[in-house]
Subunit: 388 residues, 2 copies
Amino acid sequence: MTTTPSTTAGTLADPDTPFAVVDVHKALRNIDRLAAKADQLGVTLRPHVKTAKSLDVAALMHGAAPNPVTVSTLAEAEAFADGGYTDISYAVGIDPHKLPRVLALLRRGVTLRVLLDSAEQAAFVAEASRRAGIGIPAQIEIDCDGHRGGLKTDDPALLDIGHTLHDAGCLDGVLTHAGESYFAYSAEERRLAAENERDTAVTAAGKLRAAGLPVATVSVGSTPTAHAAEGLTGVTELRAGNYVFFDLVMAGLGVCRIDDLALSVVVTVIGHRPEYGWIVTDGGWMAMSRDRGTGAQPQDQGYGLVTDLAGRPIPGLVMSAASQEHGTITARDGATLPDLPIGTRLRILPNHACATAAQHRGYHVIDSSRTGTDAPAVQAVWNRVSGW
Amino acid sequence: MTTTPSTTAGTLADPDTPFAVVDVHKALRNIDRLAAKADQLGVTLRPHVKTAKSLDVAALMHGAAPNPVTVSTLAEAEAFADGGYTDISYAVGIDPHKLPRVLALLRRGVTLRVLLDSAEQAAFVAEASRRAGIGIPAQIEIDCDGHRGGLKTDDPALLDIGHTLHDAGCLDGVLTHAGESYFAYSAEERRLAAENERDTAVTAAGKLRAAGLPVATVSVGSTPTAHAAEGLTGVTELRAGNYVFFDLVMAGLGVCRIDDLALSVVVTVIGHRPEYGWIVTDGGWMAMSRDRGTGAQPQDQGYGLVTDLAGRPIPGLVMSAASQEHGTITARDGATLPDLPIGTRLRILPNHACATAAQHRGYHVIDSSRTGTDAPAVQAVWNRVSGW
């Protein structure tokens, strides 16, 4: 994992705005927190790299030796394979059309697991494996909370799929994701969601095993449940992605503090409309994404909260509106709009780190433990993987 | 303008999903429609390339000879300058930090106009011009509807700014944008918005001229008002961007028909949850963007409407939910969910073409006038400009 040194920028005051910033101090703190939790629970952590999509960020998690990762696209799988990763789970239901790229990675010596929840997909995977003479490792997606895909544990298709996969040398295990935990606002709700996620995965694995089918992997995880789980008996691995950066949605749930947010976007003040109470910036939805995740939370944070360039929150300021290349900052809760002249740089903390990061080609990297200055030094510029 | 021939794909059935598709037949029809309108109104059309961000799409507008364009980022300005464009307006209020890149383009022989609405910005532009010995052409942004930036026509700063710019050899003219026309649901409202946009720009130009200040450019435009304007006396140029692709927001306003939408995203069915009435695809918000523009319209279209791979609408189907790499399609209005097996390809028509296009690195190009097949042939793959 190589860190690309910064070639363009001395400090966050230098590059043209908008651009994305990663604070490695906070990212490492977030990484250490979940690593300690996984250690305590006695499970392997398999980070989902869909949030940062960066070999450099993954190196923060893994150090020198590439370790298990989860990906959301084959483009990520291929980029991480190029970076030396050999243990990759592709956690989106497999489109049979994509199996040639899966087989190409397997032929390179990468253990790439696919996910499926239907007899049709299992038949495609089994057939492709037989033709290629390579068992494509496959996990059966289990639905624990009605959030998205997966089979219920009592679905009779579970065993049929298990047999189809096993007969073709493909059966790896089961995977579930407590997506509804993104709406769990109390620690107790998240604890129960984690318990349910575990129970569901372990029940499904038990049903397969009771039918004589070997289950190697029992995979669970989401950022809220990973932090809330109190016991993961029977589970072999824990997945989470957002936790490396966190965001306002996670802070709104109580999974992290605002101070833990490691991703932000630097913008510049380009206008004022005092008659409306607006400060206009050059960071619109192109820079922040259209994600309004906190809009469904008790405290709506608009398009994001505002800090100064050093990362100190400016109380009462919110990015309340966005067009393509314009952001509107307003004051709320009786706060006074500060005097922020044209050219002032600010940082916006996003609703949803996965969506905001995706609007950028890379990250300017700072380390907030090393600087007390108003314009943090840029340590490096890291690239992101994009596309599919 | 070179068209990159397709090297990867025979038809829309071939590339891995999700990917963006441009139908040149519909794009050309949309382009011809507004070109005819501009001719009829007797104004220059200066297309905003922020929607497609593609030299190839711009070539559809301009043919062999590059013509006036509007851009939303300096990255677009630089890419279009590289493509031979020499008449470019950068229609986002200028950040003084970006003036060195503006000057670099001017030194290359590109007439790049900047936009501003404050005495502070005018002073920065005048000072940079004097230092460089190059008058940076600048337009004064005028607010016609309280949508975003700009000066009201009665703001005393208008003349001060005009003098500052003129004294430095920078004053080019005035620009206004009827952003509130995106909420004008009747032809009459849009006609009135266009009239107000024109009146406001012409009034501002008149005030400057009455003070002895020369005004070359009087620029107006938005996709809804450009199509609704009945007379543009006093206006020199018309801007619009979205019109090349159109989208569900524009169709919801009545500016176009669903059949005019030239941009879509090809996705593949990867799952079924009959108990919830869901078809799951591999196109989530990463492919569609998080834009929910129709959510504020009388007919909410979710994350998009669904067609088959040939582009024929599938009545009653809507993409009702999205996660990062998953889309959920449901039936509404009593429609029956059709049988769409795993691997079936569909196309999703987006809420907001600018936002959806931005999620992709390029476009697979088809021509719906040339094919009657179920899987349209891919004529080319066109790149997009990204970043800032």
